[in-house]
């Protein structure tokens, strides 16, 4: 089936099998191998991208269902040679070890910073709370890091959230 998809600002028209995930399309058809296939079940977050600016697990999205939408991958976060503030903060805070989860962490954090409102750990649901480390940990729980670099991931995101 033919679909139109804008990826990191560039429009594409692609003929895809209905079974293909957005993740496989990005990696295998467009050569954007930043987004990672960790679990392929939506449990690890390594495949996280932004769809219409909102973070999503690209492994759980069928490419055909994304027709007409706009996707941002980790390759699209930087502005030319200028790193996204989250990318710079991840380097500054040494927020990774093996790096496999990092593209998903970056896209998830970028989406998360734009999500208003409370989380499950917010005391008062009417608040738009400050992003404390506790809040960040809850909001980033869809991204696993097997190296356990969470402490530095949280401090990197905290710096950008300020």
């Amino acid at each position: 089936m033919d679909i139109r998809l804008t990826v990191n600002g560039r429009p594409h028209t692609l003929d895809v099998d209905p079974r293909m995930s957005l993740l496989d399309l990005l990696r295998e058809r467009l050569g954007l191998i930043g987004s990672k296939k960790g679990c392929d079940h939506g449990q690890c977050g390594a495949c996280t991208v932004l769809v219409e600016g909102r973070r999503a697990n690209s492994c759980l999205a069928l490419a055909v269902a994304m027709d007409g939408l706009s996707v941002t991958t980790v390759e699209g976060l930087a502005d030319g040679e200028h790193l996204h503030p989250l990318q710079a903060a991840f380097i500054e805070h040494d927020a990774f070890q093996c790096g496999y989860c990092t593209p998903g962490q970056l896209c998830s954090a970028a989406g998360m910073l734009g999500e208003p409102g409370p989380s499950a750990v917010t005391e008062n649901l009417l608040d738009d709370p400050e992003l404390t480390p506790h809040e960040i940990r809850e909001r980033m729980s869809g991204n696993l890091c097997r190296c356990g670099a969470y402490v530095n991931i949280v401090s990197a995101i905290s710096e950008v959230a300020r």
């Binding site: 209905p18 697990n57 055909v64 409102g117 409370p118």
Partner: protein, 323 residues
């Protein structure tokens, strides 16, 4: 994944018109796409209803009408939901992850399938997946499965948090289908397994959930609480949606308790609710009511822990709600 054809419905009526055997409706896909990849769901025709104009949260005569395609995130952060139905906002926010809540729809949340490991493993028998093939969970790993309302055919639990809050709020599920439109009051959407565990709900083939409508919130204070194996992004071992209204004389004027993680459907603790009305809102009464409700439990060897866990959760939650 087995081949299928894909089409996008133009309207709810169009979706129902195009439904034929082998069709499945696609919402956010967070459960269905995974089940298709596992070989558990094998649609021949996938009809995408995620972009239907059923994506509004609107007030209608003091009630809140939530479109079936509203994303979980948008439901949880909606100002009227946060202000009037905090229990619902909390339940949705404790479910899944930020990414999944952004994708998942309200109808999809209701219609998600059990996470029983045998159901999701096509190499094993499962009465829910392949009727008549048996239930290995009863002799095997049922540590996170049902203690209430299960049958010899199936001990699966319904995994939704949102549905538990909707059961306590007595929300209405609006459905359209080949047989016309109808309204199903919660918790009536989901059924107990009996001898037909392949049926999670009372929906008929081709039925499409179009909206969930919330009546005005009941008087009293409310809470949603969830016990799980890790602090975030995990299904409930036990959860509770509770509303408690205490009269000036300290007796219970109104009470609603719905439990998650314990049964094939959100479990409305009607026996406990009945016993509490008119009783003093004290820990002793809460314990007696919880124990009375849980007398119905038939735990299996590896999930017996859920019974005292549910008892303590009911008592602690009601104590926190009592003035």
């Amino acid at each position: 994944m087995r081949p299928f054809d894909y089409a996008r419905a133009a309207s709810a009526a169009d979706a129902v018109r195009r439904y034929r055997p082998g069709t499945m409706y696609l919402g956010g896909g967070t459960n269905l796409v995974d089940l298709m990849r596992l070989g558990v769901a094998r649609p021949e025709h996938l009809l995408d209803v995620s972009r239907l104009p059923l994506d509004a949260v609107e007030e209608v005569r003091g009630r809140l009408r939530v479109g079936a395609a509203v994303r979980n995130t948008d439901l949880a952060v909606h100002p009227l939901v946060r202000a009037r139905y905090p229990m619902l906002a909390r339940a949705v926010l404790t479910g899944a992850s930020g990414q999944i809540r952004n994708m998942a729809t309200v109808a999809g949340n209701l219609l998600q399938r059990t996470r029983c490991a045998y159901f999701q493993d096509v190499s094993r028998p499962c009465n829910k997946r392949r009727p008549g093939s048996g239930c290995p969970a009863i002799e095997g790993d049922h540590s996170n499965l049902a203690v209430l309302g299960h049958s010899g055919a199936c001990v699966a639990t319904h995994p939704s948090d949102m549905a538990v809050a909707l059961a306590a709020l007595e929300a209405e599920v609006h459905v359209t289908g080949p047989g016309g439109d109808r309204i199903i009051p919660m918790p009536g959407l989901h059924r107990l397994p009996g001898d037909a565990p392949e049926r999670d709900t009372v929906l008929e083939p081709g039925d499409l959930v179009t909206a969930v409508e919330l009546p005005p919130p009941p008087p009293g204070a409310s809470l949603y609480r969830k016990v799980r194996e890790r602090a975030s992004f995990a299904f409930a071992l036990v959860s509770i949606a509770a509303v408690l209204d205490v009269a000036a004389d300290g007796t219970v004027a109104g009470c609603r308790i719905a439990l998650g993680g314990l049964a094939h459907a959100p479990w409305r603790a009607e026996r406990a609710e009945r016993e509490l009305i008119g009783r003093p809102a004290t820990g002793g009464a809460f314990l007696a009511a919880a124990e009375s409700e849980l007398e119905q439990a038939r735990p299996l060897p590896r999930n017996a822990y859920k019974v005292p866990m549910a008892r303590d959760l009911i008592v602690n939650t009601l104590e926190e709600l009592a003035p």
